[in-house]
Symmetry: C2
Subunit: 435 residues, 2 copies
């Protein structure tokens, strides 16, 4: 019999509601703090790059914790950890979780929160005495950040598309260690775990994560239903002019790569200002200037373009404007401009039935806390869920990030909001596991 609480919503799942109500705010936040001690910094941040000794220690801590909750633990060929609470039937599991690796200097929550909250859901299932039809698994994906080994999201993308792993194994960190070697060492230290096949069947996947942006905070809303992950396209623009003496070279004979780069960048920012209302986000983040000397005309400049939008047609428009702008600037000087598209990923929409489950979980948790109902938001950042969406019905829940700050020791979410996020997750996972 479910305890009906104020704010119970129409059509709610009684078991799911019981599990949601069994989530423990103090226990959840203690568990966040406990994991943050692995790689914890004096400034409040966390340094826990993937497959480092501190990451391996944190993994072992989670394994022990999950076993204490009655979970079986498995690991796959990419080092992803699966903490499994058995179901009544041996069906493909409902998966939740995120990653526990951090940026070189990160916060306590990015990734870690989703894993810890998943284990709290298992604790709540146990406390509520709820058995589910399907197994529930909490996953900790390997190397989401891509800080030590590029690219990011190795674990989730290799799980979904195992052919990627061979390439990933060759990726080298700053000290020359290949990912394959670090991975094999981690696997050798995990001989006590079950082995899980890559791309093994998954019924559905939910990732709970901090927003890493300012939208929920600005709206004063504790829970976000993520409808999609934005499309992103990356480019590098390389301008080659002629380095020459700043004093002796008249303006009319210069081939100044920075002058051309500024003309181009100015046009791109102008386009972005016009398209911001339609959700376009433009970042010219990395610049390299040579010879980069105060009294030498820049001979070479390259800069990166990161452009995102949920609406692919706006990105298509941007890309046309980019090519036109390059042609215009290129026609006006003696140098050369090269454009390279280095990455693109289409918008990842999450399916409506998944959004409905999450909406129910979020709405019930918010109502019980007297908080505003959940907001539909899009994710500007990549997440492991982006890859899982290629394998199974997937969705995400966001909680606010104070001042939108992430990848930073100052990363912070109100503990009560962390609790509401775990409650929403508990509801959604339980409902899905009973299908």
């Amino acid at each position: 019999v479910s305890r009906m609480r104020a704010g119970g919503v129409a059509g709610e799942d009684a078991s799911a509601a019981r599990v949601q109500d069994a989530v423990d705010e103090a226990r959840l936040n203690a568990a966040v703090a406990a994991l943050a001690r692995f790689g914890g910094r004096d400034d409040g941040g966390v340094t826990r790059e993937t497959l480092t000794p501190i990451d391996l220690a944190a993994r072992r801590y989670l394994i022990d914790h999950a076993r204490s909750l009655g979970c079986d633990v498995a690991i796959d060929a990419c080092g992803n950890l699966f903490f499994r609470r058995a179901g009544q039937a041996d069906l493909p599991p409902v998966l939740t979780g995120s990653h526990i690796d951090t940026q070189p200097v990160g916060g306590k929550l990015d990734g870690a929160y989703g894993v810890v909250a998943g284990l709290e859901v298992i604790h709540a299932l146990n406390d509520a005495g709820v058995e589910t039809r399907r197994p529930i698994e909490v996953v900790a994906w390997t190397n989401e950040e891509g800080a030590r080994f590029a690219p990011g999201a190795m674990g989730s993308s290799a799980f979904v598309e195992p052919a990627r792993l061979a390439t990933y194994r060759e990726s080298r960190d700053a000290e020359g260690i290949v990912f394959g070697a670090a991975l094999d060492a981690a696997l050798a230290a995990s001989a006590d775990l079950n082995r899980r096949a890559l791309r093994s069947p998954v019924e559905a996947c939910i990732e709970l994560h901090i927003e890493q942006g300012p939208v929920l905070e600005a709206a004063g809303v504790p829970l976000g239903v993520v409808t999609a992950i934005q499309s992103v396209r990356w480019f590098t623009v390389a301008l080659t002019g002629t380095a020459a003496h700043a004093g002796t070279t008249p303006m009319e004979v210069r081939s100044d790569a920075m002058h051309a780069a500024v003309s181009l960048a100015h046009r791109l920012y102008a386009f972005a200002a016009g398209a911001a209302q339609r959700g376009l986000r433009l970042t010219l983040g990395r610049w390299r200037v040579a010879p980069n000397s105060i009294n030498t005309i820049p001979g070479k400049v390259d800069f990166t373009i990161d452009v995102r939008c949920v609406d692919e047609s706006v990105l298509d428009e941007f890309e046309r404007a980019l090519r036109t702008s390059i042609a215009d600037v290129d026609g006006g000087w003696a140098g050369a401009i090269e454009l390279e598209k280095t990455f693109s990923r289409a918008t990842t929409p999450f399916p409506a039935p998944m959004l409905e489950v999450i909406e129910r979980g979020c709405a019930r948790a918010a109502a019980a806390a007297g908080a505003p109902p959940p907001l539909q938001v899009t994710s500007g950042a990549f997440h492991d869920a982006m890859y899982l969406a290629d394998l199974c019905p997937t969705a995400m829940i966001f909680v606010p990030s104070r001042a939108g700050i992430s990848h930073n020791p100052a990363e912070y979410t109100d503990p009560h909001e962390l609790y509401l996020g775990a409650q929403a997750l508990a509801y959604a996972v339980t409902e899905l596991a009973n299908r």
Copy 2:
């Protein structure tokens, strides 16, 4: 009795003409090549940074060479070398010369040509059997390039204003060696030389140098009478916004330091385009972007401004436009912009009587070679002559730089043009030394 040659000019000095005619093209070019062997590179360039073992070896070679020409050699407290051909009277000397240190990767001519040509003038004086009323000294100034120890032109500026030396002695190279220590070692190895006081009297100074710009070559003229060294002002603009995630941060809440920097730079380039006809030269040469990551909004950007013009009023106008542009851009975003003026040097005009002497020497050398008459040009680069102009009547002669290239192994001037430059120098130095 002077040998009058075709193209002899009205009012010419008979002794000066004889010395000019005694300059030896083959000998001069062999001497350029001989000095270039000290630090010579396979790519045709020269690496001879100040007070390195290779620079000290080159100095010793010049000392021996000058002594073979009958010169006394002196050194001052900043390591400047003076090769002295005695005059009939013990009066302040006429000084010529330049520097022999190079950029980390430089050419054979920047600086070295002026020193070698000065010694060729002494050779020509000897061959012509001309005694002058005043002594003639060839100088090799220490550390003009400023590549190993900052700032540049240490030797000439300390000679003119000895109080600078104490600060210079603290300047540290990339390996942590202070200039004072390198200098003391060089002085200890020069115990056989006379000592010269800093700021000892000089009658007049002429520096012969490659143009390091494209003007003479474009005009097809082998000799330039330098009327002035451009005024220069250096600034650093530092923009501080907020680093944030490229994907999660909507355009309207960004404080993007690169966006602001591009807006500002775009305005500055537009101003420069309008003022180019009045001789303004604008270079935004050094850029630093933080965190300089493809998917992070730049939180901090700084860039340098090098702006030059012979006309100070144009620079004043630029500086007003700069401050107005900063105020405009600063008003349109949430970040902050700081402007620092890091260096300024007013235009150095060379006095008309000096220009007349040089004009005579250049005109006679050009006429004898059937070349176009000299062109009046301005120097866009700094030179030791800029500081000497504060002490005594000073002027400069330029020869062309192929494609305007300097600070590069590809630096090149036609050997015949090098010869004409040395001829012009011989004339001017002799005429001045007989006053």
